[in-house]
Homo-oligomer: 253 residues x 2
Amino acid sequence: MESNGALATEGIGSSALIFLGTGCSSAVPNAMCLIQPSDPPCRVCSQSLVLPPDQNPNYRCNTSLLIDYCQGDGKHNYILIDVGKNFREQVLRWFTFHKIPHLDSIILTHEHADAVLGLDDVRAVQPFSPTNDIDPTTVFLSQHSMESISEKFPYLIKKKLKEGQEVRRVAQFDWKIIEVSCEKPFVASGLQFIPLPVMHGEDYVSLGFLFGEKCKVAYVSDVSRFPTTTEYGRPQLESFVLVYLIYPIKVEY
Amino acid sequence: MESNGALATEGIGSSALIFLGTGCSSAVPNAMCLIQPSDPPCRVCSQSLVLPPDQNPNYRCNTSLLIDYCQGDGKHNYILIDVGKNFREQVLRWFTFHKIPHLDSIILTHEHADAVLGLDDVRAVQPFSPTNDIDPTTVFLSQHSMESISEKFPYLIKKKLKEGQEVRRVAQFDWKIIEVSCEKPFVASGLQFIPLPVMHGEDYVSLGFLFGEKCKVAYVSDVSRFPTTTEYGRPQLESFVLVYLIYPIKVEY
């Protein structure tokens, strides 16, 4: 099941990881197993709608991690890794369940649909303003992802309206380019992240991230092979908790 | 509530309309009403998660219509108008509920996120082939929508891989350009449609569609004003059932 455990706000002073999704790009269940079931039916997919998702290991959304980062002063910052196709469903289910009141920043691993197509829906967790006059949410992403998102979502990038163009309420972002290198850490909402470039197929680079203060966590969601520069590149990588996305739970760290 | 009534397949020989979604672009509930509730809380959104969506008028996905078109020979063709951000959720809920086994064609009203961002997930209702060697689903759309989708989803348009690029399983489409004119009907999966250009704001044209054999149905999902050329342009428009998206139900026609 995705994301169980106590309320994120119970442990004031402690940080937590909340897994919003742990499924593949097309998520689980596979619709074809339900609308054209085989004989016998697929056991995983036929069980996926039987129990509520929070009790069901066979219902999985696109991979996404919410880091509930508690700073020294007790203030909680909420940092999201990836905003995939199921983002709205994840908000309705897990933001309400864990009483997450807002989102402080976003980090993108890559620009495939299962990591970015929910960006349009981020307005759902931003304050309402018909003129879009709100504080933007910072998004950390590679130059390659930036270029792709500029094509996919031009209205989330351009601030100036063309002549005659009406204002439409859209999500507001502040885009920050990060380097695709283990040597170039960056800070999102007070927490340091080290990019971990990995191969996602042999023709595509995705990013994992190493972060954490009390202990190190490496979150790598889309990987087929670790390049040696990432696997052996930094001493920090010698001791970390690699998050496996099999039976994820809410983890305090 | 969205889409109730008997199974679409019960009435062999009859066509039906199945409303997969009747909500606004950000859908209902509004997440902010749940994660930062006002005092007193928003009545609509706080009720949205209390009852299951099929019994709940306060849970609404992006507007989308599935036409279950029964031809003279009793064969059912399934024609979808719009593939918005909630498409996968709509398939899991309503395709399974109404026992819809496949999708024959798609018609797009315009290229905003609430009408097209689910295109990536159409592979969920297409047969599986790791090499994408399957019959494509035909999509009818305006030239303007085609150009926008070519930017948003280049991998759903281009058939040839670049040198060194790996095959990834993606939805397969056959794109058909339609004219933005009441004078230019087209046929999708055996059923004739007349485009109804309407203003969606004063700076943007969206399409409604007039269709039906026993009686005419005009489906217009995104409209702020009817241009006179659409409202008075054709005799066919004098007598039709205008579908209001307030309390939609499964309608046999």
